[in-house]
């Protein structure tokens, strides 16, 4: 073996690359499946992180640290979108605590909501939310559950024009107010919609998801596990023998794979308090994406349980 200048240089570069490797993995995670936000082409991993109930821990320092650990595992796995709302109790300050503890990871895609019936209080609430998170601005601001949506959207369009927010959207959950939702999809230049969708709640497949795809609107999916009820319902049963074809190693991944394999879906946002669960969820954003035939088989299997 000869030692020359080239081999020394290669060795030095390899050492430097090894030292930088964790940062690159966190920042890029090439294995993660991503989808573009149609209005800009910016890509997001198909699994994000919700905060409903799970991050509402008050000022309990033990639980705050547990939530920060969940966020750390989420970013380590290549996650980007974290979603919250002023309605979610102390979830916003909890996210702010985690972000400060983690040094505000650059990968963060911050998704928030405005949720106040008096439209004049919208800007104050948005500023309060921003202060809780500790970010200079939100990536996405959504009108929560269509509350005073006409007036709030005017505020959000103005904010977007001033580059105080990058994307705007609307949300609903539990399949409510879909007719009004459709009208907004058709009539307003929004970037995102957020809806409830899972293997059992499939109402959005008929109109909302095709319309969002046609209009070039990104789709966030909430309640992927029906707030945990769906997991409890199916985990008594074994995964089907053909589960490996879906790329799922457990029920959480099976249910998430079903959601993100719908081509209209941009990102599902399961919420959890556990580091092992967030890792499982993020693993659902890797590997195989089931095709339409497999999706039908997955839905039929869960429905007959």
């Amino acid at each position: 073996m000869t030692i020359d200048r080239r081999s020394i240089l290669q060795g030095c570069l390899a050492t430097a690359a090894a030292a930088l490797a964790p940062v690159n993995v966190v920042a890029q995670s090439p294995q993660l499946i991503t989808r573009p936000i149609p209005s800009t082409g910016e890509r997001l991993p198909v699994v994000g992180l919700g905060s409903w109930i799970t991050f509402n821990v008050g000022d309990d320092s033990v639980l705050l640290d547990e939530c920060a650990a969940v966020m750390a595992a989420f970013f380590e796995a290549g996650g980007r979108m974290i979603d919250s709302s002023p309605m979610y109790g102390s979830s916003q300050p909890t996210i702010g605590y985690g972000l400060r503890k983690l040094g505000f990871p650059q990968a963060l895609f911050s998704a928030e909501k405005v949720w106040v019936s008096n439209p004049s209080k919208g800007p104050v609430q948005i500023e309060q939310s921003r202060s809780y998170w500790g970010v200079p601005r939100f990536d996405l601001m959504q009108v929560h559950n269509l509350i005073s949506w006409q007036e709030h959207l005017e505020t959000l369009f103005a904010m977007k024009a001033e580059e105080n927010v990058r994307y705007i959207g609307i949300t609903t959950s539990h399949g409510r107010r879909h007719n009004e939702f459709e009208k907004i999809l058709v009539g307003q230049p929004i970037d995102f919609v957020q809806v409830t969708y899972n293997v059992l709640d499939r109402g959005v497949e008929k109109r909302i998801l095709p319309l969002a795809r046609e209009r070039g609107i990104a789709v966030i999916v909430n309640r992927p596990f029906q707030r945990g009820h769906l997991i409890k319902r199916v985990e008594r049963y074994p995964l089907p023998e053909w589960a490996a074809e879906t790329g799922a190693g457990n029920w959480a991944q099976f249910l998430l794979k079903f959601i993100v394999s719908n081509p209209a879906v941009t990102c599902a946002i399961p919420a959890t308090t556990r580091v092992d669960h967030v890792r499982e969820n993020m693993a659902a954003a890797m590997g195989i994406i089931p095709d339409e035939a497999l999706r039908r088989r997955m839905a039929a299997y869960v429905q007959q349980l």
Partner: protein, 236 residues
Amino acid sequence: MSEFWTYGPSDFLLFSPRVYYRQFELHNQALWPAQIIALGLGVTLFFLVLRPSPVRSRVVAAILGLLWVWVGWIFVWQRYTTINWVAAYAVPLFMMQGALLLAAAATRNGLDIEKEWTFIRGFALALLLFTLFFYPLLAPLWGRSWQAAEIFGIAPDPTALATLAVVALSRSRIRWPLMIVSALWCAITGATLWAMAAPDFWVAPICALVALTVRWTARRPTPRRYRHRNVPHCDV
């Protein structure tokens, strides 16, 4: 607003059971050893109700009034609202109840607690003892940490139940408003625990319902000032 009816109790639940019960753990840790003083006040309340007098009825009202204001402030407002913004709407209820009891304490006969040994008297004293000494055991009995014990004068549920027990013996006109506010809180807490699928969700609401039923069906207590007129008479 038609979609309002599509919501279930669990849709309004903002927190997990673990976070809820840790509220009591942290509260007990933060206030220790106030629990001893609170239980001491509870025992004092029991003996004052056992041998009531106008002065003792006033002291009973003052103790309960101060405890409603204290629990409303230190637990509901300062702690519970950090995980449940809806609880902020309950704070005025606690303050109103406290003010009503303190107003009663300022009157000549206070809560005007009846002396006669009746069924309701036995029931009320039993409910008071249950609340003081058995209610804190519910946490360990249902597999939760004993540090999450809910104690009279520290946590809202046993404070409301003890108030129901005492006020059931009152001859004062404000008896019903006081009982209704206490029962309302027991219903709220029962709904919260039910939404969390807690196995003991029924304890406070059932105790409140029984107390209201017993009070409602019991012989109507005679206000002190009319007692002398209740001499049987006949017209001939």
